[in-house]
Symmetry: C2
Subunit: 341 residues, 2 copies
Amino acid sequence: MSVNRSWVLAHRPEGAVAATDFGFREEAFTPSDLAQGEILVRSRIFSCAPTIRTWLNPPGRSYRGAIEIGEAIRGMAAVEVIASCHPRFSVGQLVTAVAPWQDYAVLRPDEAAVPVTAIPEGMEAVDAMTLYSPNSLTAYFGLFSVGEPRPGMTVLVSGGAGSVGAMVCQMARIAGCRVVAVAGGQEKCRWLMESCGADAAIDYRSQDLPGQLKAACPKGVDIFFDNVGGDILQAAVDRMVAHGRIVLCGQISAYDSGEPAAGPRDMMKLVYGRVRMEGFVVGDYAEHYPEAMRAIRAWAASGQIRSRVDLREGFDVLPSAFTELFKGQNMGTLLVQIPDP
Amino acid sequence: MSVNRSWVLAHRPEGAVAATDFGFREEAFTPSDLAQGEILVRSRIFSCAPTIRTWLNPPGRSYRGAIEIGEAIRGMAAVEVIASCHPRFSVGQLVTAVAPWQDYAVLRPDEAAVPVTAIPEGMEAVDAMTLYSPNSLTAYFGLFSVGEPRPGMTVLVSGGAGSVGAMVCQMARIAGCRVVAVAGGQEKCRWLMESCGADAAIDYRSQDLPGQLKAACPKGVDIFFDNVGGDILQAAVDRMVAHGRIVLCGQISAYDSGEPAAGPRDMMKLVYGRVRMEGFVVGDYAEHYPEAMRAIRAWAASGQIRSRVDLREGFDVLPSAFTELFKGQNMGTLLVQIPDP
C-alpha cells in the first residue's frame, strides 16, 4: 500500500489564480482490479499549460468541460503504465496523456479526448512533453493550416516565448517569413532573437506597443498568430495588411482576469482591411498528426527547431509553478517532474 | 446658363447624423471645356446608402477617404452624360457612378475607384440602382465567395431588409439554405418572410434577441452575414456552429453612434467554436462582376429575386432621406429621384 497525493480544485479563482485555489489531498492507494480498456499509471511529469486555467472557470466558459470543485486538476502529463487491461498498452511503457494531478490514476485511453500516446523508444519524456507535444502540433496546424504562410510574409506572434509561441516563431522562420515576436521582458526578447529565429522582438510591457509594432513591421503584418489577445490584438489589428489573417489560438491575457477576452474595438478595420480572423482547435487535425510529427522530427534533427524547458521538481510545487505562468515568470515550457517515491 | 445645386458637408456629425450637418449651395453653371477622359453628367437618381455615413467621419476612420468639410457629399448615382471627352461614353447615355450630390458634375471614369458603368439599353435606371447595383454584387460575393453556403445550412442575415440584406436573403434561399433575417419592426419582418424567402424573421427591437435567435436557429448558425454589428453580432457569436463563418459586410449600428463598432465580447468563443470571421470589400471581385451579373439577371428573369424601392423625389429631400436610413424608416433601397429642371 502506498499514498496517492492529489491537487484538487478547492474553489474557483476569481480573477488571478492563486496557489490557495488548489487543495491538497492524500489517500491510501491500493491498486484494485482494472476493467477492460483501463490502464493504471504513475505520474512522472506534468505540464503547466495556460489552457488548464480555462478549465477552472465555471462550466460553459470552457471548451471541454470545467473541472468540478473537489475534482483533481488535470493536464498533459507523461505517465508510466504500471498495470494494463488495454491491448495497446503494457506495463513499463511511458505515455503522454491528459491525466489528473495525482500520483496514481486509472485512464481509459479509448474514451480520451486527447489521444493517449506511447512515447517512442529512445525519446526522452521531456522531449515528448515539449518538442513533440500537442503544443508543437498546435503551432504547426495553426501556422500552416490556418495562417497559410508564404515566403517573405511578416508573421507576428504573441506569447512568443511560450511553448506554442516559440515553436510558431521557429516554424515561421522555416517557412521563409519575417518573424516578429511579442513577449514579456528583455530576457525573453533576447532569447527569441538569438535562439528562435525572430527578426525582431517586442516587450509587451513597453509603453508604446503600437509604435514598436509599426517599427518592427514596416510593411504591416500578414499573419498574426495570437496566443494572448487584449492590447496586443488591438495593436495588431491596426497593423494588418489587406487580406491579412489573424490565427486565434488562445487569449491568455484574459484567462486569469475574470473577464472574457474582448474582440477588436473597431470591426470596420476588419471589413476595410478584408482581414480574416479564425479560431482553431488542434484536435480537429488529428488525422494529420503523423505528417506534422514527421516534419517536426526532421526539423529537430537538423537543428532548425528546439524547445526550452523550465523544469521544476516535486509534486508539492505544482500549484505555485502553475500560477507563475500568468505572471510570465517561466522561461520556456513549464514542466514539473515527480521524483520516484 | 443654369444653376448647379449641391449638398456639401457643413460639419462632421457627432453621433447621429442630422439634416443640419449638410449645407446647401447654389452656383451658376456654365459648361466649360472638358479635358481628355472627362465626362459632364447631369444627376438623375441618388442612392442613400449607409456607407456614405462612414465618409462623413474624420479621415482615417473610413476606407476610401473621408469627405472634407465644404466638399460635396457623394454616393452611387444614375447620371446622364451631357458632354463627353471620353471614347467609351457618349451624350445621352445613362451611367451609374459614384457622383457628388450636385445637379451637374465632371467625372473622370478612368480614375474612378468604383467603375462608371453604362446602363444597358432597355434597363430601367431604378433597376440599375437596385437589382443590378453594387449592393447586389456585395450580397453575391459576400455570400458565395466569403460565406460559401451549402444546401441545408442556416444563414443568418442582419440588416435583412436593407438593400444588401434583402438580396442576401433571396440568394441564400436560392442556395438551398434556411434563411433567418433580422430587421427592425414587424412590417419589415413580414415582408422578409413573404417576399424575400426568409424562413424566420426577428425584430431586433425585441427584448430577447438571444432567445429569439435560438428559437429561429435551433441547429445554430452556419453563416452569419453581418451588416449591422453590435448586439446582433454578440448574439450571433453565441449561436455559431463549430466551423461557422461570419461574413463582415458592414457595421451600420455603429456608423451613426460616434463610436467604433466593437467586436465580440468573448474571443474564446471564436477559438473554441473554430469560427472564421472575415471582412470583405466588393471591389476586390471586380474581375468576376460579369459572371455575378449573369446570375443576378437570370434569377431576376425567373422571379427568384426582386428588389424593393423606397423612391423619394427632389434634390431638396436628399439630407432628410439620408438621415431616415439610420432610424430604419425606409422600406427597401432608398433612392432619391431628381426631376427634370
